[in-house]
């Protein structure tokens, strides 16, 4: 009996014992701008200007941008550059074969990237937000760029003119658990040259872009939540009625 109780007590701790966080660069928390139309529109502009040249968002139609407050005319004049129709899907004109030759890999489709990058370390938005802000110059890489979140990434720092150029400082430290090993420890970024945006402005712009990517991952998300509130309240009301109705029948069962 006692043994069993002990066993149960031990088993109750199991989840805590096995819960060990996997390593990796800690993610910053992306600002929540999922309902901020101005931010989403700015994000859409950045996306079309900087991302869409190489990446597709082939599940996404341009005219869906009406959901973030743009008119079809605004979309046509500001966001369509190569004669697409407003109902077209967001596809890149870069041929996959060229992409493979230039970057070593075909840039992934970004339609649902914000959903795909979610993990225990943070939401997909957090991942992209940190990723786009941790590029540094690394001459050992073919593109000249490397990244803290995505080491040895194939994509160069597309936003470098906005952020400016930085290098990363690493120090070699003795591994406290193993004398024979050293740890390659990140000590921070060092500025090489300024960009057109200040640090705060850059973070803000990336925040907008991430908000857009997050929205694009599921354009129906705000409809879903709005509708959800009504449905859940209605169902709870119905449940209350059903509860009383049931009680009125069971009253007579002795």
């Amino acid at each position: 009996m006692k043994l069993l109780k002990k066993l149960i007590a031990t088993l109750a701790f199991v989840p805590a014992m096995v819960m060990a966080n996997e390593g990796g660069f800690p993610l910053d928390h992306a600002p929540d701008r999922s309902t901020d139309m101005a931010a989403l529109q700015n994000g859409a502009k950045l996306f079309v200007n900087y991302c869409l040249n190489c990446h597709s968002a082939s599940a996404m139609r341009y005219n869906r941008l009406r959901d973030i407050g743009l008119t079809e005319d605004q979309i046509r004049t500001n966001l369509l550059f190569t004669g697409e129709k407003v109902g077209d899907l967001m596809k890149t004109t870069m041929a996959p074969k060229d992409a493979k030759a230039w970057f070593g890999a075909v840039p992934p489709d970004l339609s649902v990237i914000a959903r795909a990058k979610a993990s225990e370390a943070g939401s997909g938005a957090d991942w992209i937000y940190t990723y786009l802000r941790t590029y540094y110059k690394d001459e050992s890489r073919p593109t000249g760029w490397n990244n803290m979140v995505f080491p040895n990434v194939g994509m160069p720092h597309v936003l470098w003119q906005l952020q400016g150029v930085r290098t990363a400082k690493f120090v070699e430290e003795k591994d406290p658990h193993d004398e024979s090993k050293t740890i390659h420890k990140f000590e921070g970024f060092e500025k090489v040259s300024d960009g057109t945006l200040t640090k705060a402005e850059y973070d803000n712009a990336v925040g907008d872009l991430v908000a857009y990517l997050q929205w694009m991952g599921e354009p129906a998300q705000s409809t879903r939540k709005r509708l959800g509130a009504i449905v859940v309240i209605f169902m709870a009301f119905l449940a209350t009625l059903a509860w009383r109705l049931n009680a009125s029948y069971w009253k007579e069962v002795k």
Partner: protein, 469 residues
């Protein structure tokens, strides 16, 4: 015998006439009364008795949403992933239908696991309900197959590699394994051929079998009557009208009882659909938003949460763990020889099988992967034997010795822990814990003929315990 139709008065309501016309040709009223209307169910059902009806509801949700999804989904390796996103964006209300279906899959398992937990607690599988249990077990197998086949269809990375891992398990079977997994896939890797056949199984083959089994499950239940939290046969106490004194007709009492349960369930179900359809990566795995890529293996492949208790047992079976299993088998055979009165023939047959298994686990014989698959399958199949290995003199946990409750709690914690470990990436400590849990899991069943009959049982009342409400 000549066909005789009951004559109704000329001024009888037209509905009655129509019903009479049908009833003379098809037992409509009789079916309704036998299966629900005048089916007397024990009046002392508690919270745990709602999950059967809820499972039925989820089945209907899955079928109806499935019909609409098939209208837009493309079972083609080059189009499948995009067609799911098309449903999510361009099909009116497609996102809702898809989320209902994906959440419904998980809800199905939650409801069915709770339904099974009820059977464990109150001995609902005991005589005369063995067939109900076996039909239920077959439904559970179908459900697992249905979930497995369906999970490939979105054609994301986790769909793809999950299917790859599970189909490869068949490759562990000696001699025919590699050919068998090739035959299942229809290709050397999971591919368009695999997707098409899984689609066929998911939308027609398994649902057909499932529906038939659900009917058999219900017909068997309504034939022998429902068990209840006291584990008493209510048919042993009939009133002057020939109906059980402790029973109430399902209609209207359980009709409205179940409607109440359904509304509560749907409130929770909608909360998930509308506010957390991914459920933190458990209902929709994050990796599955990346299209399937046969050249990129994800670092951590985990099946969806509802398979993980059994999957953990597969992963726990390492070559060093086989020695523990060998010792366990030897001890078990010893136990059978020393403490049971089985005929000599059967004892020796068991010993022979055990010897074969022990020999097969020797280094150089069959590898740990094969035995992992055997234990993986065994951990599911062992459920089917429950009616015959539970030798407790009472059905319900209420009248069993108190320490039996602890055994069930330990089993429940073990099952949940196995499930938790199955979604986590492996590590040495997790491997050890899952091995301990695997031993507890199998011991619970294999030792049940001994422990279930041990202890001081409480007297079972003649009539059900019921407080009017």
């Amino acid at each position: 015998m000549a066909f005789v139709e009951k004559k109704l008065p000329a001024d009888a309501p037209v509905v009655d006439k129509a019903l009479n016309w049908v009833d003379s040709r098809f037992p409509l009223t009789k079916l309704w009364n036998d299966q629900w209307g005048k089916y007397y169910a024990p009046k002392n059902f508690n919270f745990w008795y709602i999950f059967g009806s809820l499972a039925m509801l989820v089945l209907v949700i899955q079928i109806v949403t499935g019909i609409f999804l098939v209208m837009h989904y493309k079972p083609d390796a080059t189009l499948a992933f995009a067609s799911v996103e098309y449903i999510m964006r361009d099909v009116p209300w497609g996102w809702l239908v898809r989320y209902m279906h994906s959440t419904g899959a998980s809800a199905f398992f939650i409801v069915v696991y709770l339904h099974m937990a009820r059977a464990f607690m109150y001995g609902s599988y005991r005589k005369p309900r063995e067939l109900i249990w076996l039909f239920g077990f077959a439904i559970f197998l179908c459900l697992m197959a249905e979930a497995f086949f369906g999970y490939l269809l979105p054609w994301g990375q986790m769909s793809y590699w999950g299917a790859q891992v599970i189909v490869n398990l068949f490759g562990a079977i000696p001699f025919i394994g590699p050919d068998l997994s090739l035959w299942i896939r229809g290709d050397y890797v999971v591919s368009d051929a695999t997707l098409n056949r899984f689609f066929s199984f998911h939308v027609i083959a398994i649902p057909l079998v499932l529906l038939g089994l659900v009917m058999a499950h219900l017909i068997a239940l309504h034939e022998v009557g429902s068990n209840n939290p006291d584990g008493i046969e209510i048919k042993e106490n009939l009133g002057p009208d020939g109906h059980p004194l402790d029973g109430v007709p399902s209609h209207p009492y359980y009709t409205f009882h179940d409607i109440f349960g359904v509304t509560v369930f749907l409130t929770l179900f909608s909360a998930v659909i509308f506010f957390a359809p991914e459920m933190g990566g458990y209902f929709l795995e994050y990796n599955n938003f990346i299209p399937a890529d046969s050249l990129k293996t994800p670092p951590h492949i985990a099946p969806t949460w509802y398979f993980t208790p059994f999957y953990s047992i597969l992963r726990a079976t390492t070559s060093e763990f086989l020695f523990v299993i060998q010792a366990g088998i030897a001890a078990y055979v010893g136990l059978i020889f020393l403490t049971t009165k089985l005929p000599q023939m059967i004892k020796f047959a068991i010993a022979g099988a055990a010897l074969l298994a022990i020999a097969g686990m020797m280094p150089g014989a069959l590898d740990a992967k094969f035995w992992g698959v055997v234990l993986f399958g065994g951990s599911v199949v062992i459920l089917a034997f429950l009616p015959w290995i539970d030798l407790s003199p009472v059905k319900s946990i209420r009248y069993r010795p108190d320490w039996h409750k602890l055994v069930y709690i330990v089993f429940a914690i073990t099952f949940v822990t196995l499930g938790y470990l199955g979604v986590q990436p492996p590590s040495p400590i997790r491997e050890r814990i899952s091995q301990v849990c695997a031993i507890i899991y199998f011991s619970f069943f294999l030792l049940m003929p001994w422990w279930s009959a041990m202890g001081t049982f409480k007297p079972v009342p003649k009539r059900v315990t019921f407080t009017p409400h």
